[in-house]
Symmetry: D2
Subunit: 399 residues, 4 copies
């Protein structure tokens, strides 16, 4: 019997659950886009956006998804014949590199696999080997949504400094911004990109490129940048429409305004801590299920390397898919598919799944999702260790 | 640290969580109320409403809350000088009796306390003692929202038949309709009243009186009934406005249409079973917490007497209030206050609380709410037995 | 060819067009009804409601439509065997009288027809003839929605004073409150009733009884008043639920809060003046159409007796219906049907129609509606005088 | 006194007024983007989109505004060193040319001024002069939103054929698609671009490139196209995310689905005819105001060259701005600013304004807007000829 007839809960790693205030704010008539409230609103949003990334730099807003932000950020600092170095820790690292290749940029990749994150030593070695400083930038995923690996930018910056390499440090924060602590300026990141639909809790369709002063300098040296991607007028517009390279994305802006207000009313530090605690509750449950020869495996063994916004898991055989289907059909929860986890034995990655725990998220949502996972594993006959739900509740109780 | 910044979850015994489809349906411009779509829509809703109550009788729709439906139902069948007999199993039984008194009707009460439900033998005795058949009706709560007692109408009907008493059997189904199995015709109920904001999943503001043929006869014998409460034109209108004794409650009707579609698409039997299973999951957890000298007490010990839509609980001292506050502030869950549970030691009923589990409800919502209860009891230092969350998940898994 | 595929415009005399802010405010989850924001919100609304009626008296809020408010107001001041005097100037005057009869109250009527309003001299005579002061109240419609007659309360109060009659003066302000100037205290009105769906711009389902000090005294002398209609706990509640005699109408309250904010932000005097000017624009057009032997007839010839919120019109033969259909099908405008205007020659009142111009209304809406009327009269071949639209625009220009 | 306190009406040339059904559709939780309903929905939308453009070709959907679609369309068919020929009839023609230059494409322009549209003879001459067929495409605006000129594609295609030139014919249909008749295949257009926020009645944020078979061939010969703009996977995706080059723009898609349903339920021919008739009503009024030495001037004198979706007007001195302000402040109507109309005497174009009449538009909206223009001209003291509103109503009546 299905027990799904209540509020659906989308626990995929983006788009995330949207606050009612965001959807409400988007439910309004079209505004004038030449003058009036929307102009004031956008001018007020820019500093609020920068507070999310902790930067005194600039921000360019794009009507685009995260792939668009990838392309935008690259277009402004490199072109055909240029080279970048990409630290890959999952499918999305490959994706950004591919985007560079599409622009005629050579993207050299260091592949760190899917389980252990970036080894800064190897990065330092690669940069030292680039004696002619051909790499214009080092690209990495702050969180790779596929593997749920969290890469700390600080050792990367240290490696670059140690190598004395002038490349820009570019962070893909699509799955992390607004969830994980991120200090763009303090941590020495030159460019950070993100999208609207995860920690920012707005529908997909907007993306953002944060631009530090060194990146601005590199842009200025570029011979030509396409009008749509050129961040120059966007980060310092003379006219309102230049914020968006044309017509403003009115309704996403309404939603984003609501979202930024929620985030800053809560406080970014508190938002980050909330994600830490809720992630620890999830890990406590997952580690309990893994115990006693349970079938579940957390993709990332080291807690220090785990994202606080997404968790990739393996359940063996086709049980990832089976569990996803059971909780969707019987409990009203939608989990994320495994991405980039295909193996010979499991060519469609059906043994894997992901939990999104980003954005508008609180204790009962996490505990309810975990409860349905336990019920689901039991229902489909997957062996799992005991005490998981109590362990998660204990983390919540202690918060 | 608060972990409440996500979707709020209102787990009080009404108003219940509303489906998005209901709120969506209510978000539309005012319609013409003289002709067109709304007329067709209402005519189509009447049979759907009657299917919820399982009756071939009539239904009167009132713009009113449940108290209004109480008054409406009484006004049509009794007046000053008449008598009714009220079987009281909690605060709401007293409330209906009080409503009768306000109409000049003498309301004799049999008080069955707050824990064991109606004893049909005592009802039968009382009716046998009424040899002149002064009681025009026997009133009872199918579920009393305060105590969470479920009263089966069938033994009451049997007692009335055994006593050979012609009184009408009137059921307060405000907290039960659309959640608990209810078979108005098959079970011999003459009048059933309910409201929009619980099992029907629509905001408060509409209520319903279902009218069986014997009740219609009694109405016809009444010398005068106030125009607003008179169900005669409402159950068989010549003009559209008569459905509502004046202007139609347009937006509640839009919401109700959406809600009835959801209910009947799922199927009433399935809706009832879903509530049974989810209640059993809640009971499994509560019984586990009660074990091992846990502080928690289910108000109703006998599972057969428990509502499947609301559960009243005691936690001792002021811990009911403390728990409510903890889960609201830290986990985003709002529980119901204890009602009518005041004692000398606890004059404000702060040791009690209630879980609403009615309407638009699925497995992850229930499991998440239970998880926060466990976290909350731990956080406020209330002793509770082990294994509650696993026990609840087991019920879900077996469904 | 239909030109209706744009925003529909409902120009009937209630429900009126709702502001987006009202619908937005109603699109939110169910709130806790025992404590928290809704309690604060309602306490803050009571003074704002009283400012609309310009009274320092009390207000009772009912979950009911206008017919419910009629019944509520009467129930508190009269009962079986009592008498009231009703000044009838249209269908709704008859309706209120009928509501009184349903309560066992004798309702004597003075019928002033449908075109000239109340003659205060006749009222004074009737009251003088009531030497034993049997009439407990004088009832009248501030605006009768059917005839669009506006009855000034001041001469009625003067007549009552001149007659030295102690009856209460009770005003039906359902079609006028929030549109027409109304000064309950200054004008000597003891009880005023209204609904949510016209000048208050909220869906039907709430109604209001404003209670002056003399009315409170009369209530206190009543032997018994039904619990649902009793205004005593509603106007001075000890507990929050008593405001509403049970469960609060949460979503209507959200909408009403938004509406009251809009009204008071604009300012009641400005709201009234806006209705005056827009009505004058409508009259200017209608008078122009009537000129040159045009078929159109304003039901009320004297501008001083015309409502500023609704205008009843005759077009002869079945042309009222034909025009309504044309503008609905071809231009997206819904006009009100003629009510209570049936004649021998026109037994279904198809020669008549009404324009609602109440509430959330501005210049372009009125001018657009008038433009479609001109187009419609031309299309269905009804002769009409020239210059109507220019005359209306001139009124707007001069505002 | 302001008469603006009712429904605001945004009569600018985009974004256009959105149907309630579109905003409703967008008010829903985030969906799964990997499987389920959204996949089916998008697959069903593609043919409906192509029916709007009347093409059997392909369509690429971009998360971008119109400027993004300009860049996308160019990127797929030309690159650095290539040349295109742009027929300019207003500011937006210059804009598209500028976008080409940003991509390293040489954009030769023929400027046809702002009042008379494209002279196909001059185009033919220019193409004949390009004997080495360097121009890869001829770009033009179907409607230039700034000047409100309508350029018929058929003579352009004929000129290209007469010149025997193989260039692609590329139409900017941003301001026209869904409003003006457009037959991409029958009229020989190879690429058409549009946005979501005008005739498609969805918020800004989506744009569309329709791709004919000759354009597909040109794309295939391109050495490299950036991943985001490459239409290849978008027009023929293997995986769902490829439709959008990454994460799907879920909420815009919900809105677009609703909008396409409205358009096709009405029928594209009927939609086009409705725009023709409503435009003719506007012209009738404007021509009347211009008569008798009225100050108003339609920018385009020849009816055959006027857009049916936007009308550019001059009022002299600063009266364009003054009128815009008056109708916004006093009547609730927002008009469009003049764009690209600056002169020495009027360096900020304050003598000009534009009426948007595109998309979700019906007779009462147009007539109401015209009525406020008349009131406004009178209020600010601009001389205008008589009979304008009656003339517009006559067009509506005759439809």
């Amino acid at each position: 019997m299905s027990l799904a007839a209540g509020r659906p809960y989308l626990a995929i790693p983006g788009p995330s659950v949207m606050p009612d205030a965001v959807l409400q704010a988007m439910h309004q008539p079209a505004p004038n886009i030449y003058e009036g409230d929307i102009v004031t609103m956008v001018q007020g949003m820019v500093p609020d956006l920068k507070k999310v990334a902790r930067t005194d730099g600039k921000v360019a807003i794009y009507i685009a998804n995260g792939h668009g932000a990838w392309e935008a950020s690259l277009t402004n600092i490199a072109g055909p014949g240029d080279k970048v170095l990409v630290c890959v820790t999952g499918r999305f690292g490959h994706g950004w590199a591919d985007m560079a290749e599409g622009l005629g940029i050579t993207a050299d990749k260091i592949d760190f696999g899917t389980k252990t994150g970036i080894d800064a030593t190897r990065l330092e070695e690669a940069l030292k080997a680039d004696t002619s400083h051909e790499y214009k930038a080092v690209l990495f995923s702050h969180v790779d949504t596929a593997t749920s690996l969290l890469n700390d930018p600080r050792p990367l910056r240290a490696a670059m400094d140690a190598a004395g390499h002038p490349a820009l440090l570019m962070a893909d924060c699509i799955a992390s911004m607004g969830c994980e602590e991120f200090q763009m300026d303090a941590w020495g990141v030159d460019i950070a990109v993100t999208g609207s639909q995860k920690g920012l809790m707005v529908p997909p369709g907007l993306s953002f490129v944060f631009v530090g002063p060194r990146a601005e300098q590199v842009r200025k040296a570029m011979p030509r940048v396409s009008r749509y991607w050129d961040w120059t007028p966007r980060i310092d517009p003379d006219f309102f429409y230049q914020f968006f390279g044309g017509t403003a994305p009115t309704h996403h802006l309404f939603g984003l305004r609501a979202s930024l207000t929620l985030l800053h009313d809560e406080g970014m530090e508190q938002v980050w801590k909330r994600h830490v605690t809720l992630a620890e509750a999830i890990w406590a449950a997952c580690e309990a299920w893994s115990s006693d020869n349970g079938a579940l495996r957390l993709n990332v063994a080291d807690r220090a390397l785990r994202s606080h916004a997404v968790t990739a898991l393996g359940l063996g055989e086709r049980n990832g898919s089976a569990l996803r289907q059971w909780v969707a059909n019987n409990a009203g929860v939608t989990l994320g598919i495994g991405l980039g986890m295909e193996t010979k034995e499991d060519p469609r990655g059906e043994g894997f799944f992901r939990i999104g725990h980003m954005g508008h998220l609180n204790a009962h949502m996490v505990l309810g999702m975990l409860g349905t996972l336990e019920a689901g594993m039991q229902a489909i006959g997957v062996h799992h260790g005991p005490g998981a739900l109590g362990a998660a509740a204990k983390v919540i109780a202690a918060a």
